[in-house]
Amino acid sequence: MSISTTSTAVVPPGVVVAPRLPDLLQPVQVRRGLLGFLRNHPTVAIGGGLLLLLVLIGIFAPYLGTVDPTALAPARRTRAPSADHWFGTDLLGRDVYSRVLFGARVSLAVGLSVAALASLAGLAIGLVSGFVRWADGIVMRFMDGLMSIPPILLAIALMALTRGSVGNVILAITVAEIPRVSRLVRSVVLSLREQPYVDAAVASGTQTPMIILRHILPNTLAPMLVQATYICASAMIVESILSFIGAGTPPTIPSWGNIMAEGRALWQIKPYIVFFPAAFLSVTVLAVNLLGDGLRDALDPRMAKSL
């Protein structure tokens, strides 16, 4: 539908009509639906698409020309990439290609779970702390305390209590990330609660939970979403660091982190063991970041092209 600057009304006699001007405004294409949304926000499309692709790779790993990722063949260890082993073999002769594809499952699961859990918990805590003044001191001091416990200690302790497992890694990293999310949410809330519209809402008698829900929460979503993407990426990297120390996912379950950690001593002579999982990790982080950026732009027009 085009909007025209000319009118087709009848002109009464004696009235001077301005000359017809050319149409300066282009017709606006209103795009509807999901496809429209994606076309409006290409970064969401690219980021989301890449991420979806990686998730699918993880899910359909058994059908993508892989073999059992835990099948050992020590006689054929550290072989360079070849037709038999597209990414080569690792220190125990396992096929790196298969381990990387199956590893997508674990690494993505760790990243997404930690991001989701830490964000939810941090959001709740940050909202309460930022908005409810008397709770601020107590909660933030508790968060300080939590932050001072090295996640490595927590991860090793959990591992020692039970065993090395994906669940323990997720738990340890989540606990370490919650304080950071809550601090960020709190800082945004602290700024926001001074805004006039919040004062207005309080003045008009809105209950605190309603204020939080309708005024504060929507405005914290955007920065939180950004933070969540960082957490997702950082969780995947922390998982690799935990594997470096030996407290990550057990070797029977491949993850990009532990493939890199196992191959790190040899990276000078057999770089492919580290290179391929690192490449996949980079692409995933890129995808997650693009997705986060795009969603943020899309969700809040006022903050589009800003945070």
Partner: protein
Amino acid sequence: MLAYILRRIVATLPVMAIVALFVFSLLYIAPGDPAAVIAGDQASPADVERIRQSLGLDQPFLVQFGTWFWRILHGDLGTSIFTSLPVASLIAQRIEPTLSLMAITLILTLVVAVPLGVVAAWKAGSWVDRTIMAFAVFAFSLPVFVVGYVLAYVFALQFEWLPVQGYTPLAEGFWPWLRNLILPSVALGCVYIALIARITRASMLEVLQQDYVRTARAKGLGQGNILFVHALKNAAVPIVTVIGIGIALLIGGAVVTESVFAIPGLGRLTVDAILRRDYPVIQGIVLLFSFLYVLVNLMVDVVYTLVDPRIRY
């Protein structure tokens, strides 16, 4: 303000006590016996038991915790099980390398990341912006040890400009000290440069949309003035937050960097102590960390008020 600071400091004490109790409990529950490690492979179970007794590890939980807590109140951090050296002196030995590494990394990060973020925000949408952001994402996605290895290989082995490992105390000269820290700081700083550059850009973008920036431009102020004096100050709150968080993260990253570059710092001490179950050392370090975090967060909160007068406590 002063009252607020004092209140915060006093409030840290119960927090640290709770952290101490939590860590102590965690270690108590976690299996793994320093006595077994000390006794070695060939020792008999009776030997191990004797060692446990001499270390006081057979006492009930509350007795052990109580003894330790009492000593802390007297300023005695206890003695390392494995080295028989006081925990305080072990920490004192190792703190300089870690602090040096963190300081250099922080300075490097701020000097590189903040200008990068500002420039990216200023030229938002252009190829400069996209290049900087692409680099940021890339730098963020590499694990520290991969970056460390590549740097060591290129600069230490191939070009032989810098040493591969080790730490030289500041007392032995400024350049030798700095020389050993260059590669580790760059390796450790990659992630933080990326993080802070992105946050700076995002925050600056929001500020640059504001009316007062347009006013400043209309008034004829130079670009540099606008960017760094007016805009940056207002964009600072999230940046300062992330710097505060970044300091906390630096300690975590320091563990890996110290292992890769063989720097005798607190990070390595922590991991070694955890893996050996050297309880007094672990508890001492956790207490130190918690105090450090509390201090850092306090400073961050104080800086908020300096930067954004709307925030008040």
